[in-house]
């Protein structure tokens, strides 16, 4: 699915040299501060300074897309989740702007309403979380009897064991068990090519523009080390497979340069 709404920056002549210096630390920090794309959307929605029930989803989509554009221009690594959300919002935007096709699918309005609900719900939860935490709390604002007189008068409690203790004991036991025994072949925590193919396939069609290969790495596999290298390698092999099948286009500007992917633009019929 091509995004008809904005020119694809990667279709334009390749800029040479280093166009921008990645020095915008505040924005980088700002990205770290969000607990996922929905949280970021909510923050943007608050900027509209209207009741969340009347927030403009269209405006919100624009704000989010420009946020992601900025991040991309600064060559900040954005988690795949953020890019998928961007693709989805671009799609939503087109659904809202273009006449509704006669399909069984939910209408653009319905999709927008669902997103608005999700934002309101998260806003509500963040609000009550703050109110909950502001209550007088035991051990901080309110205190129990400091010297309980050792008389469990009503309940015969012989042993102080909580459910947490019990479950933790079992968890630790399982853990030790998994580590023991030379014949226990534990599953490796390396990213498999099958997983990578499935992941990239799922994201195909949601990515209108050239997207960095490294953006496809799943969350939790991006913190460096062996895990990240295995995820990168498997994802690369997966893209080669998909490119061979004509389902993907790959582009690299030079040796050791970043690798970009996109859905083939000539593809007939949407996926």
């Amino acid at each position: 699915m091509a995004d008809p709404l904005s020119p694809d920056p990667f279709d334009q002549p390749v800029r040479d040299g280093t166009p921008e210096v990645v020095a915008d630390a505040p924005l980088l920090l700002a990205i770290d501060g969000y607990e996922g794309p929905i949280d970021l959307l909510l923050t943007l929605a608050r900027d509209q300074k209207v009741d969340l029930t009347r927030v403009s989803i269209l405006q919100l989509a624009d704000q989010y897309l420009s946020f992601v554009e900025t991040a991309k221009r600064l060559r900040l690594e954005l988690a795949a989740d953020y890019l998928v959300m961007a693709a989805w919002l671009a799609y939503l935007k087109s659904r809202l702007l273009l006449p509704e096709p006669e399909t069984e699918e939910p209408s653009g309005e319905e999709l927008a309403a669902a997103l608005a609900f999700q934002l309101q719900r998260l806003e509500a939860m963040q609000g009550v979380a703050a109110r909950l935490l502001a209550r007088p709390r035991l051990g901080r604002d309110v205190f129990a009897r400091g010297a309980p007189e050792d008389m469990p008068v009503l309940e015969k409690r012989i042993h102080e064991v909580s459910l947490y203790d019990l479950l933790k004991a079992y968890g630790e036991h399982k853990q030790r068990q998994m580590k023991q025994g030379p014949l226990t072949i534990a599953a490796t925590e390396l990213y498999s090519i099958e997983d990578a193919v499935a992941r990239v396939e799922a994201m195909l069609g949601k990515l209108p523009s050239w997207t960095k290969l490294s953006s496809f790495l799943p969350a939790g596999w991006r913190s460096g080390g062996v895990k990240t290298r295995s995820a990168l390698a498997s994802t690369f092999v997966a893209t080669l497979e998909l490119a061979k099948a004509g389902r993907l286009e790959i582009r690299q500007e030079g040796a050791f340069g970043p690798i970009f992917l996109r859905t083939p633009q000539s593809q007939e019929g949407g996926t």
Binding site: G36, D81, V84, A124, L133, F143, A144, R145, P148
Partner: protein
């Protein structure tokens, strides 16, 4: 020991029992102790009224009763050296979601927050004694649900879950309904787990 007949003596005994205990005492345990002839609830309410304006109050939390210092004195009592462990934002939000939406599965929590639940969230809340696993959801995969504990009420000074701040408004606004936000199109990369079920408690 037989329970005294004299009402004042009964009041003194309830007072002593509650005073002696650090943990909240279930009302039914008191009732069992005093026997059917005694209106334990009335004794408790009398005692509560007696202590209403004092430095120590009698509070009920989820049907359990305990003396606690009056909330307005907190700032005088807090010792300077005490360090309250700071909860992460993820943990606080997750706690609120469990409290307001319970019973709720991890997948539902993730769908509300839009991110995967990281380690050190549920286990910390459980270690604090605020949440525990509830019934499994009878849907494919039979996911474990999470619910709040009596100690959660005690810690936050809530008489019952109905007293959660703003819970009625949220319910009226439909924000506690368990519909998934963007549904099947949800772009959030979450593992496809069992679809949320109606979670009315």
């Amino acid at each position: 020991m037989p329970i005294p007949d004299d009402r004042n003596q009964q009041l003194r005994l309830v007072e002593a029992i509650l005073f002696a205990s650090a943990d909240p005492v279930p009302e039914e345990a008191l009732q069992a102790r005093f026997g059917e002839g005694v209106q334990v609830r009335e004794l408790l309410l009398d005692l509560q009224a007696l202590y209403e304006h004092r430095g120590v109050n009698l509070s009920a939390m989820g049907g359990r009763w305990a003396f606690r210092t009056a909330p307005d004195l907190g700032e005088h009592l807090r010792s300077e050296t005490e360090v309250t462990a700071k909860l992460s934002r993820a943990a606080i939000e997750t706690l609120a979601i469990i409290a307001y939406h319970q019973p709720v599965t991890r997948a539902e929590i993730e769908s509300i927050r839009g991110v995967a639940t990281s380690k050190g969230t549920l286990d910390i809340l459980m270690e604090a004694g605020w949440i525990k696993p509830g019934r499994r959801r009878e849907t494919p995969g039979r996911p474990v649900t999470w619910v709040s504990t009596p100690h959660f009420l005690d810690h936050f000074g809530l008489e019952s879950l109905r007293d959660l701040p703003g819970v009625e408004d949220l319910r009226a606004a439909g924000l506690l309904d368990s519909r998934s936000g963007m549904g099947p199109l949800a772009p959030v990369a979450l593992p496809a787990e069992a679809e949320p079920e109606p979670a009315e408690g």
